[in-house]
Amino acid sequence: MKYIYLISIFTLIFSCKVGPQPINYGKDHCHLCDMTVVDKTHAAEYVTKKGRSYPFDAVECLIWKLAKDNNENQMAYILVADYANPGNLIDAQKATYLISENIKSPMGANLSAFSSKEQALKVKKEQGGKLYNWTAIKAQLSK
């Protein structure tokens, strides 16, 4: 009987962990613009401290939504897709952002995110554009 209690307590603890849900590409809808999330190189997601995940079809949608609701401090995770590594979600606050005319993103901001600055610099060299960090990109998009 003891064991059953222990097991159920453990399951309860672990099942309540706040963590990012994987994005269901092609099924999930963007929390801001309602478009189906399809682009593995530009998708994004945030997870509230209560544990709910909200997917976005584009990094710009996530940033616009955060600016609109002004609730960045209520988020447990803010994640963006790594352009160099499709399907991989990385920490938005540590990512490097590139706005390049030659790399189109789903909502027209030409914005991509990279996990490493070297990768971003490399792509910038090939495609042109300008690099930003998290604070700078938020300022840029709220213009």
Binding site: Y25, G26, K27, H29, C33, D34, M35, T36, V38, D39, K40, T41, Y83, P86, G87, I103, K104, M107, G108
Partner: protein
Amino acid sequence: MKNFLFFFFISLTFFAQTKTITVCPSCTIKTIKKGVLSANDGDTVLVKKGVYKEHLIQLSKSIAIVGENYPIIDALGNKESIFAIKADNFSISGFKFINVGMSFTKEIAGIFVTNSKNFVLENNIFQDDFYAFIIQSSKYGVIKDNKITGHAVNETSSGNGVHVWKSSHIRIEGNTISGMRDGIYLEFVQKSHIFNNTSKNNVRYGLHFMFSHHNEYYQNEFKKNGAGVAVMFSKHIKMHNNTFHFNWGTASYGLLLKEINDADIFDNIFEQNTIGINIDGCNRIHYKNNHFIRNGWALKFTGGCYSNVFEFNNFMHNAFDLSYNSRLNNNKFEANYWSEYTGYDLNKDGIGDVPFRPVKLFSYVVNQTPETLVLLRSLFVDIINFSEKVSPVFTPDNLKDNTPLMNPVNPIE
């Protein structure tokens, strides 16, 4: 002098005559690439039947490239477009493009056009290509009577049928598109016409508009697309005589309107969709003479909408005619036909004598708790709907059609 001029012009046409370059597997010119290289402005490159394993054919001349009996251009999965074009006054017709490779980071198409104008791309067949057409920063193009089929399984690894970006005055006409991600995708496109196309079984949208103003689409058929048709962030769009049907699924709409202003939606048929039209943040839209037949929701309002007018529409046998989550604002519902209407017409002028309230209380309940949908058509739901009808408490008091029609407008068989 007159004779001289006559002779002069005759000789001019004679000397200006252009040549035709023939390409075939057994000719001296065996590849389309070489054929294009040896052509001058005004020439025709005639390609005979055969299989040409080519990609990245650069075109910067004003020539016509004509395929005879659909020669096949096989890109063999290479990550380069088959035709890469930057030219004015050209045409490509009568080819079959197959196996254009896919990439997550690069746009690759059967025909990739940039910074061009005055072109005609017609009568081509596309099979299993990543993108069929990509048109960028171009003007005055015609994309006509092409057949595009893909085997898109999921949305991430597939491209769009006709993908137009930052262009204007494009005519997309008579194409059949299936099995792609979005059938037709327009972003930053102005003053274009999309008509007589059939877009079906695409994994995402049959037609997808973003930031594209002053466009018209008419007489198109959108069928069984993953999420229907989406028209977003655009102004002055005219949509008429289109058919949206069989778009079923939790995430599926006949038509998804998001932040659309000043549009006309006339004479369309919405049949058997989960949601006929999903309306989010749309202003000054005129809905007239549309048919909403057997949808889950005919209309679903999900955001602040102002000054929309609904008149002379037929709402027939929908599970919910209207779902509304805010105040009426100044939207108008006038003189529509509602198959649910149970009023009477004593003076026989064709207009019902008691107003019709299209929002049922139960649709509010479903909005809050979607799982309650299993109770649909139960006695309990009928009772709460009836009591709400008698004395409206939850539904906006002024959300009603004061002049409901007794008979459908221009019914279709």
